[in-house]
Symmetry: C2
Subunit: 328 residues, 2 copies
């Protein structure tokens, strides 16, 4: 089997690559070839016996999608995107990369399909940013997509295209709407949601972190490990019963900042909790106030998608995957 | 004020043109200039004192949208579309006309906006085909768009773009999701929904009509007169309170075929009803079975949109508008 990962150099892309290299198979079928592409050069995984193709290219440039699809990958992961803040700041770039790039991929597959019925599995990394407030208490699978950002709009449009191209039989697609990933590895970044990870990741290694919102803020989380598992599961399961409803809210943990802090206390003690500095930030408070708190991902649950059920699990996943099992 | 109607040669486009010519104004502002465009040559309205520009062009061709927008229309109606059956039969044509054509219009407005803040009102003719079964008993404003056709997908995508472009301030847009138009004037056509109109329109002039489904079939209707009123109202009202929720289910009448027939009986007697021939058609029964029966258009009602409340009103509108008040 040939697997193509577009956006392979990003955080999730690298973890997905490493997971597939380790497994050596998807759903029992051996992976013979792995093509990794991104706008920055992807890294070859460790310990993979098959062929690896590394490609540096921009999906939204003419001919790129056609060349990638000409090699007939059996499974395609599309994780490529300009992030929310950049898509908001640069309207044209966001639409070009997030909408046109994705559509060019879909079109390249359709044109290959027309030759002989080629029909790959396509796993698209979508986002809960397809939703916009006002929200019900819990957002279910039948809630409208009314995004409040251009990024969310671009994701929602690709979801609609994915459903129509799948209905037509051009490919067999699924959209994975990821929860907020926590604990995000790496350094604190400028994303408004960064603090959810910062207040755990930094204290776990003896560093201070800033909490800009109240302890009562509730949000929807899954670990990077779960995010990768969602993508692999999306590539593995039978989708034939879904019809056009292929854009799935992924399971997650609905929890408050206070619950995050309690889990940190249980795992690393009072000393770690003391490293969280409360510095209210009106800008971030306002942004976070517009985010949904809870979801009812019934369809994904019925298909066997699973996330963590406590922040203790999320912390353990981070310590095992990022800190070799040993926090500071 | 300069008004642009794209798709002016279609049934609704012609009626809208005539209505605007008759009113001579939108929301109290005089219409000085009317630009009518379509892929077939539009007809100039009767009795309009202002300037009329007739244009035959395809919005999806390069440069067309730019040229139309360079003339800075204050109000733009976009009614141009390949119909559902054609968009399903010809995938590329449907996406080119219904999606790319509409997006080129939006882009042309955005680029004009960037020069000096130009920000027209844009009224987009959308469709309830953005929804797909399974449905709740009544579809409300927060129900997901999961279209079962490429046509519905194209409309849903333009709706998302319209909301984002409006949020950005490039134009002030509204999508009007029309009910099934009944009584559709003209000759019986091949559309699966044609019988809803045929069984009234034909008997009203002494002609036979075929009813391919059961009397218990329930559906959502508004007259052509109401459809035009929705568009004019959409061009007139303040939309600033809507945020991104600008894609509105229009009010309609939820009624059964039996209620249609009863209204015909009241208006034109048993002789007219006897002209309806019951010829069940499995293909049409199956298609109609996938359509929604009822809606809760709360948002549109709160903005003052109104439709007929009985089939007697719908028949009267037809007799007044199409038969000069005199049925056969």
């Amino acid at each position: 089997m040939h697997v193509l990962i577009i956006g392979a150099a990003g955080m999730i892309g690298r973890k997905l690559t490493q997971r597939l290299a380790r497994d050596g198979a998807i759903n029992g079928k051996a992976i013979a070839e792995l093509t990794l592409t991104d706008v920055i050069e992807p890294t070859a995984p460790n310990g993979f016996a098959g062929k690896v193709n590394l490609d540096r290219s921009d999906l939204s440039n003419a001919g790129i999608a056609t060349a990638l699809i000409a090699k007939r990958p059996d499974v395609i992961f599309n994780l490529a995107a300009v992030v929310s803040g950049e898509a908001e700041a640069d309207f044209e770039k966001g639409y070009r990369i997030n909408l046109d790039g994705g559509r060019m991929l879909f079109e390249a597959i359709r044109l290959e399909h027309q030759k002989d019925g080629y029909c790959p599995r396509l796993v698209f990394c979508s986002s809960l940013a397809v939703f916009g407030s006002p929200f019900p208490k819990r957002i279910g699978d039948e809630f409208l997509t009314a995004p409040l950002t251009s990024y969310g709009t671009q994701k929602a449009i690709l979801e609609l295209l994915l459903a129509d191209y799948s209905r037509r039989g051009f490919f067999d697609g699924i959209s994975i709407r990821l929860p907020t990933i926590c604990i995000r590895p790496g350094k604190p970044n400028a994303a408004a949601s960064g603090f959810f990870s910062n207040i755990l990741r930094e204290p776990l290694v003896g560093q201070e972190a800033i909490l800009p919102v109240a302890d009562t803020v509730r949000h929807w989380f899954a670990s990077p490990r779960s995010a990768v598992q969602f993508l692999v599961h999306g590539a593995s399961i039978d989708l034939s019963g879904l019809g056009v409803r292929r854009n799935l809210i992924m399971p997650g943990l609905s929890a408050t900042v206070a619950e995050e802090i309690e889990a940190l206390r249980s795992f690393a003690g009072e000393k770690a909790v003391a490293l969280i500095k409360r510095v209210p930030d009106d800008r971030i408070i306002r942004i976070v106030d517009g985010w949904a708190e809870d979801y009812e991902p019934d369809l994904a649950l019925s298909l066997g998608f699973r996330a963590e059920s406590s922040f203790s699990e999320i912390i353990r996943a981070h310590v095992e995957d990022e800190l070799e099992g040993k926090p500071a």
